[in-house]
Symmetry: C2
Subunit: 272 residues, 2 copies
């Protein structure tokens, strides 16, 4: 119990750093964590010795270190989910020329895990580690559509929701109307809701119990004025998410080795 608490404190210390406060002094961290200076210094020394923190040569402030980066890269490279999904990202980008994303839900936010760049001269808007309010993104809305009302209440509240642009949804009631459509159709749209000028279509990858594991999306600068084309893109993403769902379900049942050692057998299994 005592031991776990020390580790908890070390993890709190690490997660105290943010894009807004990437560097902090011992005094700032001591205030933030409401712990004694002695304890904080001991934790900092331990984390810095292992490379999870580094010290600025200039003023001795602490910041996140290379060991944390390596660990984070390992998540993106080895999580079975993303391994199976990355093929779908590449396929979506190649079939459409647009940039394809995968992201996961973290409370009311979406964290972008990776993207596959399209051929078209579309700018990158989001990159790995970026966080956005889930209800402003197509992949976020697609995942929210697979949560129970109780879960939605817990993470988004029941009144106003956080937006990023004038076109972002403003209330739970607006969102709920869209979620009902998304459940029916299988894919979500976000137009100018996280960034003006950017449209995206997204769909959710589910586990065996129907809970959302991650979301896939395609984003593009030009809104396709042809409704048929728009719905084609949505269906493409939906199909990709369904294929990924089948693979993940298979993985959950039969494991990683079974999937990777015989891709022939796997694809036959999934097809039936």
């Amino acid at each position: 119990m005592e031991r776990a608490q020390t580790v908890e404190r070390a993890l709190l210390l690490l997660t105290a750093f943010s894009e807004d406060e990437p560097e902090m002094t011992v005094a700032e961290l001591t205030r933030r964590l409401k712990l004694s200076r002695t304890i904080v210094v001991r934790l900092l020394d331990t984390l810095a010795a292992a490379g999870f923190l580094e010290r600025s040569a200039r003023d001795g402030r602490y910041r996140i270190g290379l060991a944390a980066f390596k660990l984070g890269s390992l998540y993106a490279a080895t999580n079975p989910l993303h391994t199976y999904v990355s093929n779908e990202l590449a396929r979506l980008a190649s079939e459409t020329g647009y940039t394809a994303y995968v992201g996961v839900l973290d409370q009311a936010e979406v964290v972008i895990i990776s993207h596959h760049e399209g051929r078209l001269p579309v700018r990158f808007v989001w990159t790995a580690g970026d966080r956005l309010p889930a209800a402003t993104t197509a992949l976020g809305k697609a995942m929210l559509a697979h949560l129970e009302t109780q879960q939605l209440d817990a993470i988004l509240g029941t009144d106003q929701i956080r937006g990023l642009t004038e076109r972002s949804l403003a209330t739970r009631a607006d969102l709920d109307r869209q979620l009902a459509e998304i459940r029916e159709r299988g894919w979500a749209v976000a137009q100018d809701e996280s960034a003006v000028g950017i449209t995206a279509v997204g769909a959710a990858v589910l586990n065996g119990n129907g809970a959302p594991l991650c979301g896939l999306s395609l984003s593009f600068l030009d809104y396709p004025h042809d409704p048929a084309r728009f719905s084609d893109l949505g269906s493409l993403v939906h199909q990709a998410a369904q294929r990924a769902t089948e693979r993940v379900t298979y993985y959950e049942r039969y494991g990683h080795r079974a999937v990777t050692t015989s891709s022939k057998r796997r694809s036959r299994f999934i097809a039936t």
Copy 2:
């Protein structure tokens, strides 16, 4: 002392995961860390509760979690080094059409931090988090050229060095000859040494004491047969690394705010 040891164990547990072993059972981790099962379970529970580890729905194996990914992304997004270097990456990629990389030295290896994709249809070879023997890469060799002999001995040994292809340098003596040339010229070359068909030129970004902080490189599939063009690319990367070095040195002296609040004043300072 007791406290720091528990944190050390938790960090060892996190870094026990790798691309080869992305998922492990309690038993495997207990064996690996040579600790009691009770201690390992307590650490795993603490790390999983904070999101640094997650459990497979299938068999309860542990793997790296989203919190680690978020922390790693923060390193890439906020490290002042990479902030200053990322402009140079974009400029190198835009001026040449080739893919530009930034990486750091981690003992005898280089860890790729980020890349900026070029316009040309060149394939990605390395991506964030990838690790390569430093002496097989242009940016790695450029950084090694700024270490003392004693440091090189400590991280690479004095005899055989690790390679990846038939063209990789095989011995410290081979490497030392190249490092002497790199010191003279300011930039390094690696041709077919980390991957067959890939050539790269690289240069090191230094701190105020002349120690290598990171390396920049440009990689391309086609070897420029025109020696003048080849040396132009090397000079471009060298100049980019020198500009980044000036910015980092300025940052170390005057801090982050001074740099970002008045970019006009900064560029005037750097120009003189």
